[in-house]
């Protein structure tokens, strides 16, 4: 299986995956990276160290909140989704579904006749 790594194509994907993964449970960085890897069947792997700037930025924007928690004698920074983050996630999901539907349509159309047009505005 190929791993997607094109930076421009991946724009916004880390945020989407982070918010989606944190929707159900609060997690710390390592836990989050493993969960994303498992959820995407390892098709999308976030750089393990570079996930933190995204988490910090999302927290600065009010999408996430963090708290320190002592687990097995170690203090972890746990991240959880805020109400604002939930709304933002819903918007991101709609946007990405729109894009993937359009791309699927274009690919399917091209495969059949090569004349179909994508309806999404990128």
């Amino acid at each position: 299986m190929r791993t997607m790594a094109n930076p421009s194509f991946m724009n916004g994907v880390p945020e989407l995956l982070i918010l989606r993964t944190l929707e159900a449970n609060e997690m710390y960085g390592y836990e989050l990276v493993q969960a994303i890897r498992a959820r995407t069947n390892q098709a999308i792997t976030l750089g393990e160290g570079v996930v933190y700037p995204a988490l910090h930025a999302l927290e600065s924007d009010g999408m996430l909140r963090s708290r320190r928690k002592l687990v097995s004698g170690r203090t972890r920074v746990y991240y959880a989704l805020t109400r604002k983050g939930e709304k933002h996630l819903a918007g991101l999901v709609r946007h990405w579904q729109h894009i993937t539907d359009a791309v699927s349509l274009a690919i399917g159309g091209l495969a059949i006749g090569g004349t179909a047009h994508a309806a999404a505005t990128l």
Partner: protein, 250 residues
């Protein structure tokens, strides 16, 4: 292999203007993540050395880790984004607010101390109490006028050095605090009867400049104290940086 401390990465990010709280948390999270990766690799059968090498590779190199942080302008501190506001306007605003705050607090104390004195002693304040009050409020005013500005100068030094700001910006903040604060004064004296307290705020930066030489001397004294503390702190920091670079080199 010792656990990486990400000191060089932290320094690089601080110099680039990322807020210290984000930098320190990032370094701590990376250290924890590194530990988790080592544990995972060892559980998979790798030797300690191999596990650490793989963990570092999975975490990313310093350039990638720095680039990821630097691509987020919202993580830059206000100090790095608006140094002119922090070190140029900050001292003026802070000194003005502090003198107004101190004045209001003193005014409040003056209004209530008589009542509190009567409550505790059962008699109203007299001439002897007025002398004591004058002494107490003189100490308070001295702390506000002499101690406060030095504390603010230290605050600007601390803010600037934590963010690894160029020395010129820090110096601007400290010098402004020292000079401006030298020219302001809070004075209280009591005439010995109820309602006879006098509270004065003076600034010799506005005419008629009646005590200009005295205030200039105080500004010079502030600068000398702040400069001395800076020199001492720089010497201590220099010796610890040398020790750190020796550790890094070895």
């Amino acid at each position: 292999m010792p656990q990486p401390r990400f000191d060089r990465l932290s320094e690089r990010l601080l110099h680039a203007g990322i807020a210290p709280r984000h930098v320190h948390r990032y370094a701590r999270e990376l250290r924890d993540h590194f530990d988790d990766l080592v544990r995972e690799e060892k559980a998979g059968g790798a030797t300690r050395e191999l596990a650490e090498t793989r963990a570092l590779s999975r975490l990313g190199n310093d350039d990638d880790l720095a680039a990821a942080m630097l691509s987020r302008p919202e993580l830059r501190s206000l100090t790095a984004r608006y140094p002119w506001a922090v070190f140029g306007l900050g001292p003026i605003v802070l000194l003005a607010l502090s003198i107004v705050g101190a004045l209001y607090f003193e005014f409040w104390l003056l209004n209530h101390s008589g009542g509190v004195f009567t409550y505790w002693t059962g008699k109203p304040p007299g001439p002897a109490t007025a002398k004591l009050a004058t002494r107490v409020y003189t100490v308070y005013n001295t702390l506000v006028v002499y101690g406060g500005p030095l504390l603010f100068a230290w605050l600007f030094y601390r803010i600037g050095s934590r963010q690894r700001m160029p020395a010129n910006w820090i110096m601007l903040g400290v010098v402004l605090v020292c000079i401006l604060s030298g020219f302001q004064n809070l004075i209280f004296y009591d005439k010995g009867y109820v309602g006879g307290g006098v509270l004065l705020v003076q600034s010799d930066l506005i005419p008629p400049f009646s005590h200009f030489a005295e205030h200039l001397a105080r500004a010079a004294m502030n600068l000398a104290i702040a400069g001395g503390v800076w020199w001492f702190a720089a010497r201590r920091k220099g010796s610890s940086t040398t020790a750190l670079s020796r550790i890094v080199e070895t």
